[in-house]
């Protein structure tokens, strides 16, 4: 295995986005220099006495369209790559990355979700008086991390991917510097994340110690010939903990409500959709692509453990979501319960095999788009005159009258989260549960999942009831954000959610074709 220039072509999406990120960073930096003379100081509300230098609103408006163009370009490259890909997967960079349809599909979903998410960022940042030019560069860099993670063929690249992705996410979470909640969220996420990274790297070290390699294929070969040693076993479990943390699976979820709630809304949407998709893809690749022996071996018990993680995530996520009065936090808990449903799919992968992968990918895609749509509406509903987000249920009362379009789109998104036809969420659950039913032993797990989705309907419908059937507060100080880009983004993602629910055939065919 030597370095080959064709590797560069094979990893074009990654290279393209890396360059894009650097360009965006430079654009941002230079616009700052150019504007420094005209920079003026905005008076902040009375509570925060310090004055922060804020560039005039709108000075970096072009960053979002440029980013959008880059992301669409990346999407085009991905589509082109899928078309030209050979049937078998291609390993590049001396076995560090692997290019296959599975990876490209997930990357495509991530890039598309990011593109649909960032369009609401400029208006959001303007409304909340947070100009943060690095935003777009960080999103793009986090996407690079996701690509590495999804295409990883080596434990080193797994770690590299996770860390690149996470570093971007840490900073993005804290990017709303004036908001204490944002900073708190970033701090917590970072502290626990750093700790878990330690566990992760320790797990990798243990696996390396036992097998003397970090290449996933070699690990698989050695584990199959020698059998699993205890230390290998611990290493693998630590790896699982690392992933479970990034995915927000109970009991490694505790950062998630604080972080998703505190982070700027477009960032929450980005994290809930893209990081979840990339993380699950990485986990699937680890489990199914390289450790099928472990997958089929009941004595290592990972299906057993994962099914309990699934049950805990679904149940605790839903129970906590019911109690929430804050819609953003409710959606955060809902994302924990969705991680649980996805875990059911991962368990099905272990017991049913390849047949479950397509449905799992369908669920990932449908969830990612639905989250982007719902978080878009959360941004849309806007803030009060102090720049605080309006995310209380009482703030949303009567939204159906004030902002009928926002209410309608949110309704569709919520129905999709709850799994109602004719939305993507329905077929996501339907295909997933159907695939899992291929193994009768999983029936109990499916029943738990179905019971949970019934419970979840309660809190999704509660928002709909508030929007349509409750009288608006007498003094609606809410200022909805008026931004065409944001509205178009939300509309497009909602339409996709509907299209996937009405014509699920094409996507499920695409998912089924996304093989290793």
């Amino acid at each position: 295995m030597t370095f080959d220039t064709s590797d560069l072509v094979a990893s074009l999406p990654l290279l393209f986005l890396t360059v894009a990120g650097i360009v965006l960073l430079l654009l941002d930096a230079f616009s700052r220099v150019v504007l420094v003379g005209r920079e003026h100081h905005l008076k902040l509300p009375a509570e925060t006495s310090e004055a922060v230098a804020v560039p005039p609103p709108g000075s970096r408006n072009y960053l979002m369209p440029v980013t959008l163009l880059f992301l669409l370009g990346a999407l085009a490259i991905i589509v082109w790559q899928v078309g030209t890909l050979p049937e078998t997967s291609v390993t590049i960079y001396r076995g560090m990355l692997v290019v296959d349809r599975f990876g490209l599909f997930v990357i495509g979903v991530c890039v598309a979700a990011a593109a649909l998410g960032i369009v609401s960022a400029p208006a959001y940042m303007r409304a909340h008086k947070m100009e943060f030019g690095e935003f777009y560069a960080l999103v793009v860099f986090a996407l690079c991390g996701m690509i590495i993670l999804v295409q990883a063929a080596d434990l080193v690249s797994v770690f590299l991917g996770i860390e690149t992705m996470s570093l971007g996410a840490y900073v993005l979470t804290g990017s709303w510097r004036r908001s204490a909640r944002s900073s708190e969220a970033a701090m917590k996420y970072f502290l626990v994340g750093a700790f878990v990274s330690g566990l992760l790297v320790y797990g990798i070290a243990l696996i390396y110690g036992v097998t003397e390699t970090t290449s996933l294929i070699d690990i698989k070969r050695i584990a199959m010939s020698r059998g699993a040693a205890p230390l290998f076993y611990i290493g693998w479990m630590l790896l699982l903990v690392g992933f479970a943390f990034k995915l927000g699976v109970v009991p490694f979820h505790m950062w998630a409500p604080d972080t998703y709630d505190g982070a700027p809304t477009p960032v929450s949407g980005f994290m809930m959709s893209c990081i979840k998709a990339a993380g699950f893809a990485g986990l699937i690749r680890l489990l199914q692509g390289t450790l099928p022996m472990l997958a089929r071996d009941p004595f290592t018990g990972w299906t057993f453990v994962l099914s309990w993680l699934a049950v805990l995530s679904m149940s605790l996520g839903n129970l906590a979501a019911i109690k929430q009065d804050n819609i953003k936090r409710m959606l955060a808990y809902s994302s924990i319960s969705h991680a649980g449903y996805l875990m059911v799919g991962v368990v099905a992968l272990g017991t049913v095999g390849d047949a479950a992968r397509g449905p799992l990918l369908f669920y990932l895609a449908s969830y990612a788009l639905t989250v982007v749509a719902s978080m878009g509406v959360v941004s849309w509903v806007g803030c009060d005159e102090r720049g605080e987000e309006r995310v209380r249920l009482s703030d949303w009362a009567g939204l159906g009258k004030r902002e009928p379009m926002a209410a309608l789109l949110m309704t569709i998104a919520l129905l999709s989260l709850g799994g109602f036809p004719p939305t993507a969420g329905f077929f996501g659950k339907f295909y997933l549960f159907q695939a899992a039913l291929g193994e009768s032993k999983l029936l109990w797990l499916i029943l738990v999942a179905i019971a949970n989705s019934l419970v979840s309907v309660y809190y999704y419908l509660r928002v709909i009831t508030a929007m349509y059937f409750r009288e608006p507060a007498p003094n609606p100080a809410t200022l909805p954000i008026q931004s065409t880009a944001m509205k178009v983004g939300v509309l497009v993602s909602t339409l996709l959610v509907l299209a996937m629910g009405m014509f699920p055939g094409w996507l499920s065919a695409l998912c089924a074709a996304a093989k290793f």
Binding site: F252, M254, I322
Partner: protein
């Protein structure tokens, strides 16, 4: 033989029109709405005509134009794969032409009729929506696609019946239509499901080859085809207003008159007839009991509704019962195997019945919304165009030669008279006799219905248009002919009512004519059969056919004569006397045989009582008190518990991570030991074999200690796991076996007699 054609345009245009009108119509005003609505339908009609001409000229008789709506599969669920596509063959051509062109005329008419309506845009939005859905129904290439349209027209019909929803009665009528239709739709859906499970296809294109599979015996000794046909027919009864589900149609007259003309006379209600013709393979399943049912229900409905029509006083109600009755004629046609005749009557009926309704609308427009015919009279001189077109329609529906209704009704009557139902070959003489007599009985019922039809239509004509005006002076002052937009469709439909019949003239009448003329005159007879549907039964002897024709004409003339005698120049005294003399019969008919009251007593009230019980007991007690109070309490406390751990303390988060990691390790090792103590015992005389764990377990992965005789002391210790462990017993008896498994890596120990997660089947051996 199929060919691709952008058929989607035909349904897209009206749906686009609906979207435009419903979303923006209010903003842009009535002219915009009229133009959008009419041009959408006109566009659809033009594309449809182009497509039908292609079918007629380019394709063989069995050919069809197809269009895939969704690339790949539309719905995939297990074995069930469904493509969504459109198909235009000779049968759907007839429907598409009728639907698009008559819809266009009625759209134009409605622009005049509804001009003072404040909700103009909503009306035309719904009307376009209906047209689109109806076109999906007739163009669908499989039953599920047809069902999408089927439900779509049901929705549009509901919306339009209750269009003036401010009045409670209209909203109630809409609901009634919807609910009664739901009953039918349920049967229809079951029929589709049964067809798929047993036969494995729901595509019309495959229907040619399913006859054999339909013969599979299924329930009560009948072939499955019979049951599918009956279930589908239940749906048709709902949509096409046949006994026992016809009750919604007379009430549906609460909608605006153009709606009655388009939906409840010309197009939607004929969907059932179309489906029976489309699925004739299923209805033809031997023995033909399903067809006997269809024809019987049709004849009964035809007679039943026609008698009710005799005494009704509301203009539109008379027409509504007339529609129910005429639909019965069509069902007799398709039920006796005279598919061509049934579909032909569907087409001609669309012309004159749409015309009759539009005429009624024109009259009511002039009368300021008054619908009681007793308060009309002598309108002929005020509105000549309406009068003379109405005259033509009445001739057509009464079946006077050469108007449209004559030929189509004659085809049905002749087909019915000559029909033979193929039943079991092992019938006794009496049974065979009854089956042979059945078509004659149907013919008798239809002939009587035809007499009633001629009578009530001409009664209507005479009472409304001749004699003296019986309304108020103010009404008389306002009488006027309707505007061009309304009279033009009336005239065009009248022309259609004259000419439409002339393409389906029976063969006996065209003998000796020039060949080209004969070809035109018998065009419809060859259009559908034998390519699309089996040929209609025909009397063997020419004299019989002539006689039947003459008989039908005589019957119609009698009906007209009777009506003229009683009502010409106004309601005569004889008519009033007759009404008093036949008091009981009149009351029975006036109250529509008390069917609504009967349904109310048998179905509605008991259901309501059950609903009240459910509300009081289940809803108030179980749900409100039990579930919504106790359930949330439990969920709430659990949620609060979860929240207590989520107190924002980062140290706690990290502890959770550590506990989770430990839990994973514990759980998976526990699982290993747990699997290790699961097993079964095999006894072979004194040798007992213990099979533990799973075949995939590796030797030495667990270390066992085994107590073979249940005395609490381990007999064997440090046994390496192997797939089978053997023990030789010294004496006979029942022994309890206890196994202790130890995972040497983690020192996790598990005993088979643990109360918590122990061995799922207790281990013991009975040694002889």
């Amino acid at each position: 033989m199929t060919e691709n054609f952008p058929l989607y345009l035909i349904i897209l245009l009206p749906l686009l029109g609906a979207a435009l009108n419903l979303l923006f119509g209010r903003r842009f005003g009535n002219t915009f709405v009229s133009v959008v609505a009419c041009s959408a339908v006109a566009g659809a009609a033009l594309v449809a005509t182009k497509a039908v001409l292609l079918v007629a000229s380019e394709l063989p008789a069995r050919g069809a134009l197809v269009d895939q709506l969704v690339s790949g599969d539309w719905i995939v669920a297990g074995d069930f794969k469904l493509q969504a596509g459109l198909m235009l063959d000779r049968l759907s051509s007839v429907m598409v032409m009728v639907v698009t062109w008559i819809a266009l005329l009625i759209h134009i008419y409605a622009t005049g009729y509804m001009e003072h309506e404040p909700d103009f845009a909503r009306f035309f939005g719904y009307l376009n929506l209906f047209t689109g859905a109806m076109l999906i129904l007739v163009l669908g290439d499989s039953l599920p696609v047809t069902f999408v349209g089927w439900e779509g027209v049901g929705l549009a019909s509901y919306l339009l019946i209750g269009f003036w929803y401010h009045e409670d009665k209209n909203a109630t009528a809409g609901r009634k239509a919807f609910i009664v239709n739901r009953i039918g739709d349920f049967g229809f859906l079951l029929g589709i499901c049964l067809l798929f499970t047993v036969v494995g296809t729901v595509k019309y294109a495959d229907f040619g080859s399913i006859a054999g599979r339909l013969m599979t015996p299924w329930w009560m000794g009948w072939p499955v085809g019979y049951w599918i046909a009956i279930l589908l027919f239940v749906g048709c009864c709902g949509k096409s207003a046949q006994i026992p589900l016809y009750v919604w149609l007379p009430d549906a007259m609460a909608g605006p008159t153009p709606v009655s003309a388009l939906i409840h006379a010309a197009t939607m209600v004929t969907a059932g007839v179309y489906v029976v013709a489309r699925c004739h393979t299923i209805f033809d399943t031997f023995p033909e009991a399903a067809k006997m049912t269809v024809a019987g229900v049709g004849a009964l409905t035809a007679l039943f509704a026609a008698t009710i029509g005799i005494v009704q006083r509301d203009f539109k109600k008379v027409l509504a019962y007339s529609t129910v009755s005429q639909l019965g004629f069509m069902f007799v046609g398709v039920g006796t195997g005279a598919y061509t005749a049934g579909v032909f009557h569907l087409m001609t009926h669309a012309f004159f019945k749409a015309g009759l309704f539009l005429g009624a609308g024109s009259v009511m427009h002039a009368m300021g919304g008054e619908g009681d015919i007793v308060k009309m009279g002598g309108l002929g001189k005020h509105m000549p165009i309406t009068r003379w077109t109405f005259f033509v329609y009445c001739l057509a529906i009464a079946g006077i030669v050469p108007f449209a209704g004559f030929f189509s009704k004659d085809a049905i009557l002749a087909g019915t008279f000559a029909a033979e139902f193929r039943m079991s070959t092992q019938m006794t003489g009496a049974q065979a006799h009854l089956v042979a007599l059945y078509p004659k009985l149907l013919w008798g019922m239809l002939a009587t219905a035809a007499l009633c039809t001629a009578f009530y239509m001409w009664r209507l004509y005479f009472v409304v248009f001749t004699g003296k005006f019986r309304g108020t002076e103010e009404q008389e002052h306002h009488l006027h002919e309707s505007p061009m937009s309304m009279t033009l469709p009336l005239v065009m439909l009248a022309v259609g009512s004259v000419l439409a019949g002339l393409i389906g003239v029976p063969a006996v009448m065209t003998h000796g004519l020039p060949e080209s003329l004969e070809h035109v005159l018998t065009f419809f007879n060859h259009w559908l059969s034998p390519a699309m549907v089996p040929a209609s039964p025909e009397p063997h002897e020419h004299w019989l056919e002539w006689a039947l024709m003459g008989g039908a004409l005589t019957i119609s003339l009698c009906g007209i004569g009777l009506a003229a005698a009683l009502y010409r120049g106004g309601i005569s005294e004889t008519a009033e006397n007759l009404k008093d003399k036949l008091g009981f019969a009149h009351k029975l008919l006036w109250n529509k045989y008390y069917v609504d009251e009967l349904y109310d007593f048998l179905l509605v009230r008991p259901l309501r009582r059950v609903a009240v019980i459910l509300w009081k007991v289940v809803d108030n007690l179980v749900i409100d008190l039990g579930l919504t109070k106790i359930g949330p309490y439990i969920v709430d406390s659990l949620g609060a518990l979860v929240q207590r751990f989520q107190n924002g303390d980062v140290q706690r988060y990290i502890i959770a991570v550590m506990v989770g990691a430990a839990g994973i390790l514990f759980g998976s090792t526990y699982w290993l030991a747990y699997q290790g103590i699961q097993g079964e015992v095999k006894v072979e005389r004194r040798t007992v074999t213990l099979k533990l764990g799973d075949a995939r377990m590796r030797p030495g992965q667990l270390i066992y200690a085994i107590d073979w005789d249940g005395d609490g002391k381990f007999d064997d210790t440090n046994v390496r796991f192997n797939s089978e462990l053997k023990h030789e017993y010294g004496n006979a008896g029942q022994f309890k076996i206890v196994v202790e498994a130890r995972d040497p890596v983690w020192n996790m120990v598990k005993r088979s007699d643990d109360w918590f997660f122990g061995a799922s089947t207790p281990l013991s051996a009975k040694v002889e």
